[in-house]
């Protein structure tokens, strides 16, 4: 057990690609946490998808022992944070376990909105934020400009920012010394009753639920009987320890320390992120502030292409939720797509990740319907109904008023792209709240309807700013809005899975663009395929996919059989990714066509 004064708990705040993982690897290397051989690249990003996308989804932590030049040995607990706009709550819980944070900024690119938002959270929570300029080895590094940006946008002193390069190893030791010198040591009464924060929980096939915790007061020992405050169910602690980064048992953790516990909890919902752990014998201990039940922001229907896969799909979802308490799902039945699940996600990235994992790790072929936010509907009888699916919108006659969620979006963008970003925000029905010029960048605040943001806003923002604009947003309130349901009909049949809720002013343009896009995406079939967009009973747009004229192989003799067979197999494989809607084969992408239209 390390004395409180020799402990430093910290996080790294960094934009995607600004080098957080590489930096973490350097720390581990410097402190000798792993041998060279064990040093698989970027240890902290565990999932394949995390590694590929360069983002962290699950928080990880590592305990390192650093010999400072002051002659003492310090226990440094690095708590990794998820790095995306969808995971703000998880980020806030990781930060709550720390006394300090490194703000790592790419010395060439400057500050990005995501870091700003996280940084504000850190400052609000009283963390000591230490700026680090990374990628100093690159010729485009402009440390002075970036320091100004840090000072003007975030408002912290950047004079002493450490210049570093995680790639070359420059400044690594300086950063560690800075942490020791500037991050406050944790405080906490080790003799008080146990109070520990659950930073993250995940499911391990062998151990069950493993939780990463920060002990705030008291001690947590193997054999203790504990409860999570929000649930009250008692579990016996089977093992306690730290990640070095290998899992190492330590028998106990004391106030100020960060480590893992395993307590025979079978479900991840049994150890909610942000909840407080205490002993079963001291249920009166107060819960730590900031605990929230996570609510999905974006909903979409997910359906297996082949109905035979429904059970496998259900199993896969239940396995994924073992590790992801923010993923919610309930059965949904679509006339067009059959049985599937309506799934709730934290945001678009979360949705993409889940979808990819289902397809890759569970080998499922899925159709995802257009994502939608949750609308508030005031009924004529005064009831308020929450609607998370266009097909569940009550009949127009019974609706008094519809309300859509509004977010406050903070955007950072270089001057030269300001015009196009403003145009985009206006197009998406945004209302400007603030605009500030800071160094080379402009900080914009807009109130935007969330449904515009979740669809394709982020991609569009990136494309109009050549990748330079960054975005952070949070829910503000529900606002009354003039919304209509846009239906799509294929050969005269309304396809429930293609319905959308859109603003009345956009309905016509959206309908046209959508139908045109679908015409491109639906391959020619044996019959003409009519695609129509309609609002209520009124058709607003129509396109026809002309019938295929023929599809026959001219020559086939004895020697050709194998090749002809391969050709058919290829043709068939193409269809596997399509769904039969009535007589029409509709490819997966067509269900998400709305994400690909510009309007």
């Amino acid at each position: 057990m390390t004395d409180l004064s020799h402990i430093r708990n910290f996080s790294i705040i960094a934009h995607i690609d600004h080098g957080k993982s590489t930096l973490a690897d350097r720390f581990i290397q410097h402190c000798g946490g792993l041998t060279q051989r064990e040093m698989a690249e970027q240890i902290l990003d565990n999932l394949d998808i995390e590694r590929e996308r360069g983002i962290t989804i699950k928080a990880q932590s590592v305990t390192l022992y650093f010999d400072s030049k002051d002659g003492r040995r310090y226990q440094l607990n690095f708590i990794d944070t998820p790095g995306h706009v969808d995971f703000t709550y998880e980020v806030s819980r990781s930060l709550a376990a720390c006394e300090g944070a490194l703000l790592v900024v790419d010395a060439g690119q400057g500050v990005e909105a995501q870091s700003v938002a996280t940084c504000y959270t850190a400052i609000e929570q009283g963390l000591e934020v230490l700026p680090v300029l990374n990628k100093m080895d690159l010729p485009q590094a402009e440390p002075e400009r970036v320091k100004t940006e840090i000072e003007e946008i975030i408002g912290i002193d950047a004079t002493d920012a450490v210049c570093a390069s995680a790639k070359s190893g420059l400044g690594i030791e300086d950063i560690l010394e800075e942490i020791v010198a500037k991050v406050p040591a944790p405080v906490g009464d080790r003799d008080a009753k146990l109070q520990a924060l659950i930073i993250d929980s995940w499911f391990d096939n062998y151990l069950g639920v493993v939780s990463l915790v920060r002990v705030v007061a008291g001690r947590l020992k193997k054999g203790d009987k504990i409860i999570a405050k929000s649930l009250g169910k008692a579990h016996v602690v089977d093992s306690v320890g730290v990640f070095t980064p290998k899992r190492t048992e330590t028998q106990s953790l004391a106030a100020g320390e960060v480590g893992f516990i395993v307590a025979g909890i079978k479900e991840i919902l049994g150890a909610p992120v942000g909840d407080t752990l205490t002993l079963a014998s001291t249920p009166e201990v107060e819960a730590l502030a900031g605990f929230k039940r996570i609510k999905p922001q974006v909903y979409a229907g997910l359906f297996p292409v082949s109905s035979d896969d429904f059970e496998a799909f259900r199993d896969a979802l239940s396995k994924l939720t073992l590790n992801d308490s923010s993923l919610q799902y309930e059965p949904e039945n679509s006339d067009a797509l059959g049985f599937g699940f309506r799934c709730g996600f934290l945001g678009m990235l979360h949705m993409e990740i889940i979808q990819e994992r289902l397809e890759r790790e569970y080998d499922l072929s899925l159709i995802t319907t257009a994502p939608t936010v949750v609308y508030e509907v005031l009924m004529s009888n005064g009831d308020i109904v929450l609607v998370d699916s266009p097909s569940r919108l009550p009949p127009v006659a019974s609706i008094e008023e519809m309300r859509e969620p509004i977010v406050l979006a903070n955007i950072l963008v270089p001057h030269e792209h300001l015009g196009s970003v403003i145009t985009l925000c206006v197009q998406k029905r945004g209302v400007q709240r603030d605009m500030q010029f800071v160094g080379k960048q402009v900080s914009l605040s807009y109130e935007l309807p969330m449904n515009e943001v979740v669809l394709d806003f982020f991609d569009r923002l990136k494309s109009v700013s050549r990748g330079y604009a960054s975005l952070d947003y949070q829910f503000l309130r529900f606002d009354k809005a003039s919304l209509v349901r846009l239906d799509v009909m294929i050969n005269g049949d309304r396809v429930d899975a293609l319905a959308l809720i859109v603003h009345r002013d956009h309905a016509l343009g959206k309908g046209r663009a959508l139908v045109e896009k679908m015409k491109e995406l639906i391959p020619r079939q044996l019959y003409d395929v009519a695609i129509q967009a309609a609002i209520g009973g009124q058709i607003i747009s129509r396109q026809t996919v002309k019938a295929l004229r023929k599809n026959v192989t001219a020559k086939c003799y004895g020697g050709d059989i194998t090749r002809k067979k391969k050709l058919l197999e290829k043709q068939k494989a193409g269809k596997k990714r399509m769904k039969q809607v009535g007589n029409v084969e509709v490819p997966q992408e067509a269900f998400l066509a709305v994400l690909k239209v510009d309007s």
Binding site: V552, G558, G559, K565, Q571
Partner: protein, 397 residues
């Protein structure tokens, strides 16, 4: 248990003067200066035949009758008649006396105009070859040039006339449509020109761009799909008006006696020996097991080198592929297949495909007739099914 179907023989001659840009068959250009290894190749074919024929007859009492021979390529007409005479004489030894010159035996040789000296026709005929398949492709010189053919229309006409005067009353003309920049009128003119020779048989097929060809990497400007469809419809009507019955997707004959027996055997999922470089064969053995496929080295040099030590090598067609292969062939024919035939040739119960057949009947792509009772139910491809045959077959993948 699988009954043994009729047996045919395919002989592959893998050389051409020049490789055509659309051709994906196993053909190899030989330099103008070099001599074709005709004698060695015939010797190799004989050895190849011996081992495959022995395999085909394994467990059967006595030999198996060969119902047709097709000598294809490449350009078989590059070989001299005596090469085929030697080969056919050699094969005849395994067959009943009088086999080679019997009325029922169809022996086809593929001939390309431009490689044929008029004198050779009579010799081919004398060697026992009784059917010629002449690769005319088009009667328009400009088209022939684009297709990379070495002959012109005059040579094509001359070749047909010589064939007839040499006593070939049974011959086929190969004709393509959907050629680069071809108009409807030009396609019809080609058919008219072919009809003027009163051929007993026409193979009229659409140019298809196959992988591993020059056209695949440098696609020529092909007619639009709507034009292709019009050509198909008009050509079909023109041929029908002239008494030609389409008995397979691309095969037309005026008299059912002049349908290609050899090709019909493929399309009825019969057995065939495949000898020569790159040749494929299909054999049903007397043991009642799954039908087997044979294949040979593609490169002529490798084939020749391996010849002295040939042993028949074959692998069974995977059980799950048999129904598909059967349908891939039989549904190309107008006559389709009967339930009994399906079971006899695939060894599988009809129920394995019944549901899918029924749904294709519902979709108007197949039809069935029960005139001869349930067991004799005949399944045929409808007109619409012929247009979309790949869609039909895909159901059985």
């Amino acid at each position: 248990m699988l009954a043994q179907p009729p047996l045919s023989l395919y002989v592959h001659i893998p050389w051409c003067v020049k490789k055509c840009p659309y051709c994906d068959f196993n053909s190899h250009e030989f330099g103008a200066r070099s001599e074709l290894p005709q004698t060695d190749y015939v010797a190799a074919l004989c050895r190849d035949f011996d081992s495959d024929y022995a395999l085909a007859c394994e467990g059967s009492s006595g030999g198996r009758a060969i119902h047709s021979v097709f000598i294809g390529g490449g350009t078989p007409s590059l070989f001299e008649a005596r090469a085929f005479d030697d080969l056919l004489q050699y094969i005849a030894k395994t067959q009943t006396p009088g086999w080679l010159h019997s009325q029922e035996l169809e022996i086809t040789l593929e001939a390309n105009p431009g490689t044929l000296e008029a004198g050779r026709f009579a010799e081919f005929r004398a060697a026992g070859i009784n059917r010629l398949s002449i690769g005319v492709q088009s009667f328009a010189d400009a088209q022939l040039k684009k297709l990379g053919r070495i002959h012109d229309s005059t040579q094509a006409r001359r070749a047909i006339e010589s064939a007839r005067s040499a006593g070939f009353d049974n011959f086929n003309l190969d004709l393509m449509h959907g050629l680069p920049e071809q108009t409807l009128a030009a396609a019809m003119a080609d058919i008219e020109a072919a009809l003027s020779f009163e051929p007993p048989h026409l193979s009229w097929y659409q140019l298809t761009i196959e992988p591993n060809t020059v056209f695949f990497s440098k696609p020529p400007p092909l007619p639009k799909e709507s034009l292709l469809t019009s050509v198909q419809d008009a050509g079909h009507a023109l041929l029908a008006a002239n008494g030609f019955e389409q008995y397979e997707v691309s095969a037309y004959a005026r008299d059912s006696q002049r349908q290609s027996r050899h090709n019909l055997n493929y399309w009825q999922f019969g057995d065939y020996l495949g000898i020569g470089a790159g040749a494929h064969g299909k054999l049903t053995l007397a043991d009642g097991g799954l039908p087997r496929r044979t294949r040979k080295q593609r490169q002529p040099e490798n084939y020749l080198r391996a010849a002295p030590a040939f042993t028949a090598q074959s692998s069974p067609i995977p059980e799950e592929d048999i129904a598909l292969e059967y349908l891939l062939n039989t549904l190309r024919t107008r006559k389709g297949f009967t339930r009994d035939q399906f079971e006899a040739r695939t060894g599988q119960p009809y129920s394995t495909i019944e549901g899918r057949v029924a749904s294709l009947i519902d979709r108007g792509l197949l039809s069935d007739s029960r005139a001869a009772g349930a067991a004799g139910t005949t399944v045929t491809t409808t007109e619409r099914g012929f247009r979309f045959l790949n869609t039909v077959l895909e159901e059985f993948v």
